[in-house]
Amino acid sequence: MIELLLQGVLLGGLYTLFALGLSLMFGVMRLTNTAHGDFIILAAFGALSLAAMGLNPWLANVAVLPVAWVLGYCVQRYVLNQTLGKDPVPSLVVTFGLSIVIQNALLETFSADPRSIESGGLNTLSWALTDSLSVGVLPILILMIALLATLGLQWVFEKTRLGRAFRAVSDDPEISELMGLDSKNIYALATAMAFVLIAVAGVLQGLRTTVAPADGPMLLLFAFEAVIMGGMGSFWGTLAGGMLLGVTQQLGFRVDPGWGVWAGHCVFLSLLLVRPQGLFPKTR
């Protein structure tokens, strides 16, 4: 049982990383990026491509991060900024279109075969905690990164000038303009940050397991469930939501491999029914 919970928490670490970017974009801009999962997969394939072009695999993994920053900034500034407004439809349709384009572009370039990022054995290393209990080193690493990322985001939002701008723009974009903020730029910076998180998640997913062009939507749903279950407006909530999802799925997998993901969905829907505001919503 303890082992189950532990595996669940470790999985939750990865799901938190999936979810933080989504949480950030929705928090600042009320934008739902339907292509979120596809960008995660794109990042993984990006790292694979860089490695295939001759770059040292570990360097490739890190190199995707600045690329992601630039990509995120441009996508928001030149495509998604046009879709912002009271109507959620344009952003949904445009990101949905992006999702289709990314999936099929990856399919054309790489074929549908699942691939993984070369980890040099890291993904098999394990650490014996007790006589009967051992955990993978990579999952622990992922959990550490997830905690760091959550801490980092929280810190940026609460203690930095940019974070203050994020919160202001999220509260009242019109008055933020009155203060002298260029909201177009602020939105783009938020997405740039989100894309870096997405890239981190993508690389770790590729290291931990395989990635295939069609995997995106499933990752989007996991990220989404973590955000909603955790409660909107709070990064620690997203962490909690990720943990809950991870544990639930592990329990489901243990019962039957076919029911793991299903169990996660059902717990999500049930929580939505009884506590729609999530576990730790930020009260205003």
């Binding site: 919160r167 509260d171 019109e174 009155l178 903020l181």
Partner: protein, 238 residues
């Protein structure tokens, strides 16, 4: 008219403003000199807030309709206009609920204009804000929130302060406290445009007064010289 031409810092010429297809302002001519205090009065829906919003850039107008220190600024972004030295204290305060009092004030300095106003000076002007500086802005009373809104605008060190209904929803004592701070605010030559519901207050605090009625200027003159009847007629129209 009562000023030498070179003293005018802001003037509007035939300013028209629309909300979608509905026209709210039908050609406003307005001017203010350096360091002056001017009031704008009028019934609800007369277009007073719309006028201030147009000056601040929140409502789009033609380029030549607004002229600030010799430059046509109509249609510029609000973020550009605040950098030029006009700051708006919006109707209803519009503080940022997710930010603390101090953070709200700091937002005002995002335009990075140099000047005498900073946190320290604001806290001297409104001491209660220093006491509550780390609290969420939503936990303050109406009057205190109004102080934050004014302070936030002052942090951008404007040359012209636009105040939209400072007294809205506040008790008379609190209104007095806020308006008592006005002389110190304008002591260094800052101009102020006051949109006010309270006509006598408007007359007391300013040198000149404009009255708007259904999107048009129905009366203007020296505040202390306008009679009750003149104002009444202009306010309600025929």
């Amino acid at each position: 008219m009562f000023l030498a031409g070179s003293n005018i810092v802001l003037h509007t010429r035939d300013l028209k403003a629309f909300y979608g297809d509905a026209q709210a302002l039908f050609g406003i001519d307005f001017e203010i000199g350096k360091g002056q205090a001017i009031a704008i009065i009028g019934a609800n829906g007369a277009g007073k807030s719309t006028f201030l919003k147009a000056l601040a850039g929140l409502v789009k107008v033609q380029t030549a309709a607004v002229n600030w220190k010799g430059q046509d600024i109509g249609g510029k972004l609000p973020s550009e206009i605040v950098r030029l030295g006009l700051a708006l204290v919006p109707e209803g305060r519009r503080l940022f609920p997710s930010l603390s009092v101090q953070e709200n004030l700091m937002m005002g300095s995002e335009s990075q204009r140099k000047g005498p106003w900073n946190l320290e000076r604001l806290f001297k002007l409104f001491p209660i804000l220093q006491e509550k500086r780390y609290q969420p802005s939503t936990s303050l009373s109406g009057g205190q929130q109004q102080m934050v809104a004014i302070g936030r605008a002052l942090m951008s060190n404007p040359e012209l302060l636009l105040c939209d209904e400072l007294s809205l929803g506040l008790a008379p004592l609190v209104i007095r406290e806020i308006y008592n701070a006005l002389p110190e605010i304008t002591a260094e030559g800052m101009g102020v445009v006051l949109v006010e519901q309270d006509v006598s207050l408007a007359q007391q605090m300013t040198q000149r007064l404009y009255c708007l009625q259904e999107g048009r200027v129905s009366l203007q003159g020296v505040s202390s010289l306008l009679s009750r009847e003149q104002i009444s007629q202009a306010y309600f129209g025929q």
